[in-house]
C-alpha cells in the first residue's frame, strides 16, 4: 500500500499544481512540500524495511485485465529501491534547482510530478505491462519539459528525444507482448527464470527488449538523440534526464531482461559488455574535445553509464552489485554536475569552456563542488562512483577479461578530460575581467547541490548503507541465472 501511495502522491501533486493560483512563490513552496512526501516515505521504507528487500516487498496486486493476466502489481525490492529513492530525491532537488524556469511554473512542476509518477512506478512495477505503462508515462512530460521550457533549439531536440525513445519502447513492448503471450502471464513474479519458455524463444524475446532498453540508456551508437536533449533542457530537467531516465533502461536490463530471460539474455551478455566498454571509451574521447561544458558533462555521463552495462553483463555478485550501485552513484554525480553547470552558466553567461577560467578564486564553493563532481566522475575513492566502478570492472573482468581491462583504460581517459576541464574552468587565471566580481553560489543554489554532494561522500565512505539493501535482491537474481 505504501508503495502505491508513494507512487501516486506526485500525481495528486500535479493536479494540485494546476489548481493553485498564479503565485510563483506559493507554487514553489507547494511543489517542495509535495515532493518531500515521497522522499520521506522512501526514507521511512529504508529504515523500516530496508534489510528485507530480497524479494519484492510492500506489494500490491490488483487484477487489471483478467483475461490477459495483466495486473496492477507493484512492490519494492533491493534492485529498484536505490533508484526509487533517487527518483524521489532528485525530483526534490530538481524543484529546488528550478530557478531558471520563469514561464508557466505551475505547468512545469505539474509535468515534473507526472514524470516522477512514471519514474517511481517503473522501479516498483512487478508486471511487464505496468512496467511499460510507467516507462511511457515518463516520456510525455519529459517531451514537454524539454520542448516547452528548453532553450532556442528545444523543438528539434524534443522531437528527437521522443522519436528515439518511443521507437525503443515500442520495440520493447513488442518483446513484452510476445513474452506475455508465450508465457501466459505478465507478472514478473510468474515469469521468473524464463516463464517456461524454451531457450530459442527466450532469445527471440530478449532481443527486442534489449534493443529497446539500450536506446533508453543510451548505448553507443544509439545515443544520437542525447546531446541535443541534454544541452537544450533547463537545469532541473537535466537533473532527472541524466539522473534517473537512463536508469529506466539499465534497470530494465538488470531487473527484467536478466532475471526473467536468463537463457535468452545469455548469448547477448558479451555484446552487452562490449557496449559498456564502447560507452566508456567513446564517451571519454568525445568529451575530450567538447567546447561546451554541458556537452562535456553529457558525454561523461554516457561514459560512466558504460560501467552499469559492464557490471550487469558480468553475471557475478561483485559486478551486479556494482551495476546496481552505479545507477545511484551515476545519478548523484551527474545531477551535481548539471546543476553546477547551470549555476555557472547563469552567473557567467556562457557555457563555453574556452571563455571560462579561474572561477575557483571567485566562487570557491561552486567551483569546489564542481571539482568534487568531476572527481566523482573520474572514480575517485571516497566518493560513491568509485565503489560502483571498481566493483563493475572487477565483476566484468572476472567474466570478460578483455572488456574489463579496456574499461580500466577509462579510468585514465576520464581523468584526462575532466582534469583538463577543471584546469580550464575553475583554475588558471580569471577568464574575463567581468568575472572579477562574480558572486559565489547563493543559499538556494547551495541547497540544491550540497545534499547531493553529501550523499556522494557518505555513500562513498559507507557503501554498505546501500549495498546491504540491494544485496539480497542481487543474490536472488544470481540464484536465477546460476552465477556466483
Amino acid at each position: 500500500m505504501i508503495t502505491t501511495v508513494t507512487i501516486l502522491i506526485p500525481l495528486l501533486g500535479a493536479i494540485l499544481m494546476l489548481l493553485l493560483p498564479d503565485d510563483d512563490r506559493l507554487t514553489r513552496y507547494a511543489a517542495l512540500g509535495v515532493a518531500a512526501v515521497p522522499l520521506l516515505l522512501t526514507i521511512y521504507i529504508y529504515f523500516a524495511f530496508g534489510g528485507d528487500l530480497g524479494v519484492a516487498a510492500l506489494t500490491q496486486d490488483i487484477t487489471w485485465i483478467g483475461s490477459l493476466n495483466i495486473g496492477y502489481r507493484v512492490g519494492l525490492d533491493g534492485l529498484g529501491f536505490g533508484m526509487f529513492f533517487l527518483s524521489a530525491f532528485l525530483t526534490l532537488i530538481a524543484i529546488v534547482a528550478s530557478r531558471d524556469v520563469k514561464r508557466n511554473l505551475k505547468q512545469y512542476f505539474a509535468a515534473l510530478f507526472v514524470a516522477e509518477v512514471g519514474m517511481l512506478g517503473v522501479f516498483a512495477a512487478q508486471d511487464l505491462i505496468l512496467f511499460y505503462v510507467f516507462f511511457e508515462i515518463t516520456l510525455i512530460p519529459m517531451y514537454l519539459l524539454v520542448g516547452v521550457w528548453g532553450d532556442e533549439n528545444r523543438r528539434p531536440a524534443a522531437i528527437k528525444f521522443f522519436i528515439f525513445t518511443f521507437l525503443g519502447s515500442t520495440v520493447m513492448l513488442a518483446g513484452f507482448l510476445a513474452f506475455g503471450i508465450l508465457a501466459n502471464t505478465y507478472s514478473m513474479d510468474g515469469l521468473g527464470g524464463g516463464g517456461g519458455l524454451s531457450r530459442v524463444a527466450q532469445i527471440a524475446v530478449a532481443a527486442p527488449i534489449l534493443f529497446g532498453l539500450l536506446i533508453k540508456v543510451p548505448a553507443v551508437p544509439l545515443h544520437g538523440w542525447l546531446l541535443d536533449v541534454y544541452v537544450s533542457s533547463p537545469t532541473s530537467t537535466n537533473v532527472l534526464l541524466s539522473g534517473v531516465l537512463p536508469k529506466l533502461g539499465t534497470y530494465g536490463i538488470i531487473a527484467v531482461a536478466i532475471p526473467l530471460l536468463p537463457q535468452g539474455i545469455e548469448p547477448f551478455l558479451p555484446y552487452l559488455a562490449i557496449f559498456g566498454v564502447i560507452n566508456i571509451l567513446y564517451g571519454s574521447f568525445v568529451a575530450f574535445m567538447q567546447p561546451d561544458l554541458k556537452a562535456l558533462v553529457a558525454y561523461s555521463s554516457i561514459g560512466t553509464l558504460g560501467f552499469i552495462l559492464l557490471g550487469a553483463a558480468s553475471g557475478n555478485a561483485v559486478g551486479l552489485n556494482g551495476a546496481v550501485f552505479q545507477q545511484v552513484s551515476h545519478g548523484l554525480y551527474s545531477a551535481l554536475l548539471f546543476i553546477l553547470v547551470g549555476v555557472i552558466a547563469a552567473k557567467t553567461g556562457t557555457r563555453r569552456i574556452r571563455e571560462l577560467g579561474g572561477l575557483a578564486a571567485r566562487m570557491p564553493w561552486a567551483g569546489g563542488l564542481l571539482a568534487l563532481g568531476a572527481l566523482a566522475a573520474m572514480g575517485l575513492p571516497g566518493l560513491a562512483v568509485f565503489v560502483s566502478e571498481f566493483m563493475s570492472i572487477m565483476g566484468g573482468y572476472t567474466t570478460f577479461p578483455v572488456q574489463g581491462v579496456l574499461a580500466s583504460v577509462g579510468i585514465v581517459l576520464s581523468a584526462m578530460y575532466l582534469l583538463y576541464m577543471l584546469a580550464r574552468v575553475i583554475f588558471g587565471p580569471v577568464g574575463r575581467p567581468a568575472y572579477e566580481d562574480l558572486q559565489d553560489a547563493d543559499p538556494v543554489e547551495m541547497a540544491s547541490v550540497v545534499p547531493v554532494a553529501v550523499l556522494l561522500v557518505v555513500l562513498g565512505i559507507f557503501p554498505a548503507l546501500l549495498i546491504s539493501v540491494q544485496r539480497p535482491a542481487v543474490d536472488a537474481v544470481l540464484a536465477v541465472i546460476g552465477g556466483s
Binding site: 575530450f288 578564486a361 575517485l380 572487477m394 574489463g404 575553475i426 583554475f427 543474490d475
Partner: protein, 660 residues
C-alpha cells in the same frame, strides 16, 4: 592481541587528521590563520599514537611484540566477495607511520610562517591534513583495495597542493600533469589488483601471497599482474618512464614538495613494493624489472639534476634518483637496505626542501644563478643544507651513508655488476649536483640585489630544519651494520626485515659489511664534491666554458632527455587527435544518421502525401485494392480460382459499368 582501546588509538592515527580536514574545510574561513593550531594539534596526537604503535610492535609496550592486525567489513557480499578496511602494522608500517606523521608535523610547523598571508591558508592546512590522513591510511592498509583507495587520495591531495596557486597557469598545468601521469600508473595497478582478485578471490596481501605459493595463480599471468602493480609504483614514485611529473610538481608550495614529493607520497611506490614483497619475490622477472628500472632511473635522474638552474628542480631530480636507489635495493633483494634508505631519505630530503624553501622565502627566487654568498646571511640554512647534502652524498657517518652503502654493496655482492657500476656513477653525480647547488647558493659573491638583502628565516621555520638536520646526522645510526665493529646492534634490520618466505625464496646470503666497498663509495662521493668545488668555487669560469663547449649535451640534460617533448609529440598529440576524430565521427556520422532518420521520415511522408489526393474515389480504390491483396495473400492456395474470379468479375463489371 590488542585491546579495544588500543585499536581505537591505532584507528585514530589516520582518523584525526581526516577529522581536522573536515573541520578546516568547513570552517576554514572562520579560523583563518589559526587553522594551523588545530592542524598541529591533530597531527601531534597522531605522531604520539604512531610512536605508540611503533613501541607496541617492537614489544616495548606490554602485550605487544607482534604485528597489529584488525579489520572491519567495508563491502560485504558474502560468498560473492568481501572487501574490508583494516589495519596491519608490522615493523615496516610502524616505521612509516612515525616517519609520515613526524615529517608532516615538521612541515605543518614550518608552513605556518612560509604560507603566512596566503589567501587559502586554512584550505592549505586542510589538504595537508587530508594528505596526512590518506598517507597514514595507505601505510596501514592490509589489502589492495584499501591501499588503492588511499593511494588515489594521496594523488588527489598532491593534485590540490601542487595546484594550490592555481591562478598561475604553470601550477595548474603541473597539477594536472602530475595527476594524469600517476593515474596511468594507477590504472595499471588497478588492473593488477583485479587480476589478483579474479584468480585468488581475495585482495589481502597475505592471501594473495599464499594463493600464489599454492599455485592458484602462476606463470605469465602472475608475472603480468605483479608487473602491473609495479607500474603503479613506478607512477607514484616517479620512476622511468613516468618520472616527468615530479619536476613539474615543484610548482607547488615548497613545504608541499618537502612533505609529498620528497618524504612520503613518492615513497608510497617503494612502500607498495615492500608491502607486497612476498608477492614480488615469487616472480624473478618482476624483481629484475624493479632492480633495473630503479638503477636506470637513479642514473638518468642524476644526470638531469646536473645542469638545472632551479634549486627545487635539482632536488626534485635528486628525489627521483634516490627513489630509484630504493627500488634498486628492493629489486636485488636488499629489502632492509631499500626501506632503510626510504627512512633516512625522508629526513634529509625533507630538510633539503625546507632549506630551499627558506632561501625562496628570503629572496623570492628559485634560480641558483640569482643567489650566491648566502652563507653569512643565512647561516642556519647553510649548515642545515650542508648536513643534508653530506647525508645525501653518503658521506660517513651521516645517515645517508649507511643505507646507500648497504644498497651499493649488495648490488656488488649479488653480482649485479652493471647495476653496481650505475649506482656508483650515480653516487658521484649525486655528490656533484647537490654541492654544485650548495656552492652556487651559499658561496661567492651575491649575484643579485635579492641575494644581498636576504636574511635568515624566522624560528618557526629554522626550528624544524634544525630538528631534521639533527636527524639527518643520526637517523642512520640505528642501522649500523654489525660488520663495522661498533658495539651498537643493528636495530633497524632486526625491526624491518623481509619475511622468512621472502628470504628463503630469494636465497640471498646475510649481507656483510665490506670496508673496501664502503671506502670506494665514500671516495667517489668525495670526488664529486671536489669536482663541484673545483668548478663552482675555485674556478667558476670553467663551468660556463664546459657548458658552452658541450652545449648539445647541456641542452639534452637540461631538457630532461627530451622526455616531455617526446610524450607531447606522441601520446598527447595522439590522444588529442583521437578525441577530435571521435568528436567528428559523433557529429557527422551519428548526428548525420539521426538527422538522416528525420529526413528519411519527412521524405517518406512527402511521398505518401501525394497519395492523399483528396479525391474520395482514390481512397475507395485503395480500399478495394487492399482488400484484393489481402484476399490474395490469405487465400493463396486458391490463388488460381480467386484470380480467375476477379478477372471474370472485373470484365463483367466493366462491360456493364460502362453503360451505367
Amino acid at each position: 592481541m590488542q585491546t579495544v582501546g588500543q585499536q581505537l588509538i591505532i584507528t585514530a592515527i589516520p582518523a584525526l587528521p581526516a577529522l581536522v580536514f573536515f573541520v578546516l574545510a568547513l570552517f576554514g574561513r572562520l579560523l583563518k590563520e589559526s587553522a594551523q593550531y588545530v592542524a598541529i594539534l591533530g597531527v601531534t596526537i597522531s605522531l604520539v599514537f604512531s610512536a605508540f604503535a611503533l613501541l607496541f610492535v617492537a614489544g616495548i609496550v606490554p602485550g605487544g611484540g607482534a604485528p597489529i592486525e584488525f579489520a572491519v567489513n567495508w563491502i560485504n557480499l558474502g560468498a560473492g566477495g568481501n572487501f574490508s578496511m583494516g589495519v596491519y602494522i608490522d615493523g615496516l608500517a610502524a616505521v612509516m607511520l612515525v616517519v609520515v606523521s613526524f615529517v608532516s608535523l615538521m612541515i605543518q610547523l614550518y608552513s605556518g610562517a612560509f604560507m603566512e598571508g596566503d589567501k587559502r591558508f586554512a584550505w592549505f592546512y586542510a589538504v595537508l591534513n587530508l594528505f596526512t590522513a590518506s598517507m597514514l591510511g595507505l601505510v596501514l592498509a592490509p589489502n589492495f583495495i584499501q591501499l588503492y583507495v588511499f593511494w588515489e587520495l594521496v594523488g588527489l591531495c598532491s593534485y590540490l597542493l601542487v595546484g594550490h596557486w592555481f591562478e598561475k597557469p604553470s601550477a595548474r598545468d603541473a597539477a594536472m600533469k602530475a595527476f594524469i601521469v600517476t593515474r596511468i600508473g594507477d590504472a595499471a595497478l588497478f588492473v593488477g589488483i583485479i587480476i589478483f582478485w579474479a584468480t585468488t578471490g581475495s585482495v589481502a596481501f597475505s592471501d594473495i601471497s599464499l594463493a600464489a605459493q599454492s599455485g592458484f595463480i602462476g606463470g605469465s599471468l602472475f608475472t603480468t599482474a605483479v608487473i602491473l602493480v609495479f607500474v603503479g609504483a613506478v607512477g607514484k614514485s616517479a620512476q622511468f618512464p613516468f618520472h616527468v611529473w615530479l619536476p613539474d610538481a615543484m610548482e607547488g608550495p615548497t613545504p608541499v614538495s618537502a612533505l609529498i614529493h620528497a618524504a612520503t607520497m613518492v615513497a608510497a611506490g617503494v612502500y607498495l613494493v615492500a608491502r607486497t614483497y612476498d608477492i614480488f619475490v615469487q616472480s624473478p622477472t618482476a624483481m629484475l624489472t624493479v632492480a633495473y628500472i630503479g638503477g636506470f632511473t637513479a642514473l638518468m635522474a642524476a644526470t638531469m639534476a646536473l645542469v638545472k638552474r632551479d634549486i627545487k628542480r635539482v632536488i626534485a631530480y635528486s628525489t627521483v634518483s634516490q627513489l630509484g636507489y630504493m627500488m634498486l635495493g628492493l629489486g636485488i633483494g636488499n629489502y632492509t637496505g631499500g626501506i632503510f634508505h626510504l627512512y633516512n631519505h625522508a629526513f634529509f630530503k625533507a630538510l633539503l626542501f625546507l632549506c630551499a624553501g627558506s632561501i625562496i622565502y628570503a629572496m623570492n627566487s628559485y634560480n641558483l644563478f640569482e643567489m650566491g654568498g648566502l652563507r653569512r646571511r643565512m647561516p642556519i640554512t647553510f649548515w642545515a643544507m650542508v648536513i643534508a647534502g653530506l647525508s645525501l652524498s653518503g658521506i660517513f657517518p651521516f645517515s645517508g651513508f649507511w643505507s646507500k652503502d648497504s644498497i651499493v654493496a649488495s648490488a656488488y655482492d649479488e653480482h649485479y655488476y652493471l647495476l653496481f657500476g650505475m649506482a656508483l656513477l650515480t653516487v658521484f653525480m649525486t655528490a656533484f649536483y647537490i654541492f654544485r647547488a650548495i656552492f652556487l647558493a651559499f658561496t661567492g659573491e651575491p649575484r643579485t640585489q635579492g641575494a644581498r638583502e636576504a636574511g635568515e628565516s624566522p624560528g618557526i621555520m629554522t626550528g624544524p630544519m634544525m630538528l631534521l638536520a639533527f636527524l639527518s646526522i643520526v637517523s642512520g645510526w640505528v642501522g649500523i651494520p654489525p660488520g663495522l665493529g661498533i658495539p651498537i646492534p643493528d636495530y633497524f634490520a632486526e625491526f624491518v626485515h623481509p619475511s622468512e618466505f621472502a628470504v628463503s625464496t630469494l636465497n640471498i646470503e646475510e649481507p656483510s659489511f665490506s670496508f673496501v666497498l664502503a671506502a670506494i663509495s665514500v671516495v667517489v662521493a668525495l670526488l664529486g664534491i671536489g669536482l663541484a668545488y673545483a668548478l663552482y668555487v675555485a674556478r667558476p669560469a670553467l663551468a660556463g666554458t664546459l657548458a658552452s663547449r658541450f652545449s648539445w649535451l647541456h641542452k639534452f640534460l637540461d631538457k630532461g632527455w627530451y622526455f616531455d617533448a617526446l610524450y607531447g609529440a606522441t601520446f598527447v598529440r595522439f590522444a588529442m587527435w583521437l578525441g577530435k576524430a571521435t568528436r567528428g565521427f559523433d557529429r557527422n556520422v551519428i548526428g548525420g544518421a539521426v538527422s538522416g532518420v528525420g529526413r528519411g521520415a519527412t521524405g517518406t511522408g512527402g511521398l505518401l502525401q501525394r497519395l492523399q489526393s483528396g479525391g474520395v474515389q482514390n481512397y475507395a480504390l485503395f480500399i478495394l485494392l487492399s482488400v484484393l491483396i489481402i484476399g490474395i495473400v490469405v487465400g493463396a492456395q486458391y490463388a488460381v480460382i480467386v484470380v480467375g474470379l476477379i478477372v471474370l468479375i472485373t470484365a463483367a463489371a466493366f462491360a456493364v459499368g460502362t453503360r451505367l
